[in-house]
Point group: D2
């Protein structure tokens, strides 16, 4: 069964910062799409600059899993498009926000919290530990992997208690962070994955690419049960 994946990117740093453009000549979305190379995926990309940010109703209707990268332009996402993403997640679309996608409107609306963190630029080592080695998103990983140079995110991460905490990061500078957390909202599965600052070639790293594939596999919708909402008649006969 093919999984239809849409990789969304705000695509701003790549336009404005030559070093990012050099690092990601096809955009971060291009690098992430490239990670999803297996036959079981059908991948398209979309960016902020397109009409409706490339996330029209018909695009979302045909998307099984939406992978989302955003950072400096989180506020520029149209409210209606953000609500449309949220509604599709409720219907079953998987949602995989990467890095500052944790600050995106769809993720914050799905969480109901501020999603605030502490952070530090400059580049330092991150060691991502698998806290839940039985989880599908950890398939094929060693007990940890390292990102040699990255932005730091530190706890507390203002999110609801996760359904599962798959990864916890150790940072050289002294902090920790829940780097991979799972949720369900409506019928949709959500996996927020921390790594991915634009200043580093993180999306070329094999472990990161493996996690993104695993997350897409995990987040793909299933059939589920039928539901009737709204006013209904009684099943049992009611006493007059």
């Amino acid at each position: 069964m093919t999984i239809n994946v849409t990789v969304w990117n705000e695509n701003v740093h790549e336009q404005e910062e030559p070093d990012v453009a050099d690092r990601y000549p096809d955009g971060i979305h291009g690098a992430v799409a490239d990670a999803l190379e297996a036959d079981r995926y059908s991948v398209q990309t979309a960016t902020l600059q397109e009409p409706e940010h490339g996330l029209s109703e018909s695009v979302l209707d045909e998307t099984d899993v939406l992978v989302w990268w955003s950072h400096c332009a989180n506020d520029e996402v149209d409210d209606d498009v953000a609500d449309r993403v949220v509604a599709r997640v409720h219907e079953g679309m998987g949602f995989v926000p990467l890095h500052s996608g944790k600050n995106s409107k769809p993720f914050k609306r799905l969480m109901g919290t501020s999603c605030r963190i502490k952070y530090r630029h400059g580049g330092e080592t991150e060691r991502i530990w698998v806290a839940d080695p039985g989880h599908q998103i950890a398939d094929g990983l060693d007990e940890y992997f390292e990102i040699p140079s990255t932005e730091m995110y530190g706890e507390p991460f203002d999110i609801p208690e996760p359904d599962r905490t798959v990864f916890i990061s150790w940072f050289e500078g002294g902090e920790v962070f829940r780097s991979g957390v799972c949720y369900r909202r409506g019928r949709g599965r959500i996996f927020a994955f921390r790594p991915g600052h634009e200043a580093y070639p993180i999306f070329y790293q094999s472990e990161v690419r493996r996690v993104i594939c695993n997350a897409v596999d995990w987040a793909a919708p299933n059939e589920g049960a039928t539901v009737r909402w709204g006013e209904v008649d009684s099943i049992e006969r009611l006493e007059e």
Copy 2:
């Protein structure tokens, strides 16, 4: 320690329907406030019709727990006031939506789901079972209590998996419902309690009043730890 409680009510049915006005001459907010009679509570009320719906920044700042009744006017609540309530919950204010308060803007924004249900008017018996007898919100209850005549709410209830499910209802007409569910968002505790249709004298029933008191006690904020958000220096010395 006194708990400052604000009981909010949209206060519309009481103005428009004589039988509701007869049933609740001081408004539903008046009946709920009356349930919170003990010395440990300091109670005030607020309604939709007041400026800022009676929920100004200063009122919310001084509120430990906000009890909320709403139904037909959920859409009339100002977006900014709804966001202000959400922000105060994140800071620690308890939030206890009653009945269709599960459709209120603050609750839906805190949950991140549609909060849809099925329902039926007409009046039928509801038997509310304690599913979590060790929970503080069940203190002093028998293993179940009944509401002799009420509106039905039926599963599925489109909410995130609750932190704790305290009550599950049996309905005469054949449905079930998770009638008392607990969450945390940010520092704030949330308890959604199903009973309370305006067409029945439910807020005079002793078990319902006991649950509301227990929920307020449970949802009252505690001190917690200090937090620093945003950009921070490293604690450990970073390699150059």
Copy 3:
């Protein structure tokens, strides 16, 4: 990928009660095995009466998912065999206790609670509502299904708060019950499913058979990550 399923049954009622033998001429294990007819399953059965209850180390090592029916002989299960089942669940084997399997030694040891309930014999209608319509275990179901005549189980069910509550039952006699609940322990997935009293032909009912297949699919192990337990050297250089 074939899923290796072992269907275990205490197989006592079938030997001692002619009506049960008539209803389940191949044993309850035979009827459950028959439900797992699809090509993707490789099914074998095992019973209490066999050496090591048919659950030798080698049988368990080759089992992906263990489906378990027990009732009157829960105490006759050897402690070492129960511990062996628990250890295999920790390693990743799925475990699907049916009916009074919720009182089995392996399930109680995995839960850490008493798993007590209230119950009633005699036969009454159970309506099993899907509370989590997005869950894989609910795939292909309508919003509820009914068991026309069954034993009742009532709340409170003394279990840890479930990871997911897939089904909630309504009983004609006035009770409710969390009839399908999900857990993880170690790498293993656990789904406890309520229906299945020996006095009724429940395991021939299509919805029950569909749920068992869905549960086996859901509980099948995945690869996961490698783990090192025990004493380890430091990764970072420690200050002397």
Copy 4:
């Protein structure tokens, strides 16, 4: 309301290792009991060497919260005493295992998992971050505190997904660990707290003492609801 606390200690290192005896002249139990000095506590201690390990039925019946330190003698705890502790937790007694108490029979039986970890002796810095700043157990703490020299515990920690993760530790040697995790089993609250190796004066540190007090306050039982287990008559009239 006074909280009756029993502080249990295996009390072996203190007898066998002079440096531990010097560090904890009244035993680790003495130091922990000393931390619970406030008027709201009534504290007694018990050790492995006493008859029934000092945990007779009557002692446990009068205990609201059991704080538990153990390490090298976990296997010497009598099975019946361990089961008695578990049964009392189900009835509502709080349970606060410290350090290798996570390997104790009662904790492992309450969790249903192996509770395995990785570890390292030698002494290194641990920085304990508050991941859940709104939790009562974090009351009065700064966003982190440090233990200057301690044994390391590293992820993965083979426990069920916690109800709440209050603390996450950063270790100098490169690991992370969920150092404070909350559960409920039956009516009883459980908080496992990592720090406390016998080779360091950890139980004299103010933050550690504060956490133990907070945990005892949080774990103290409440009234709850009444429950009837076992066979019951129907509430509704059943069709013949």
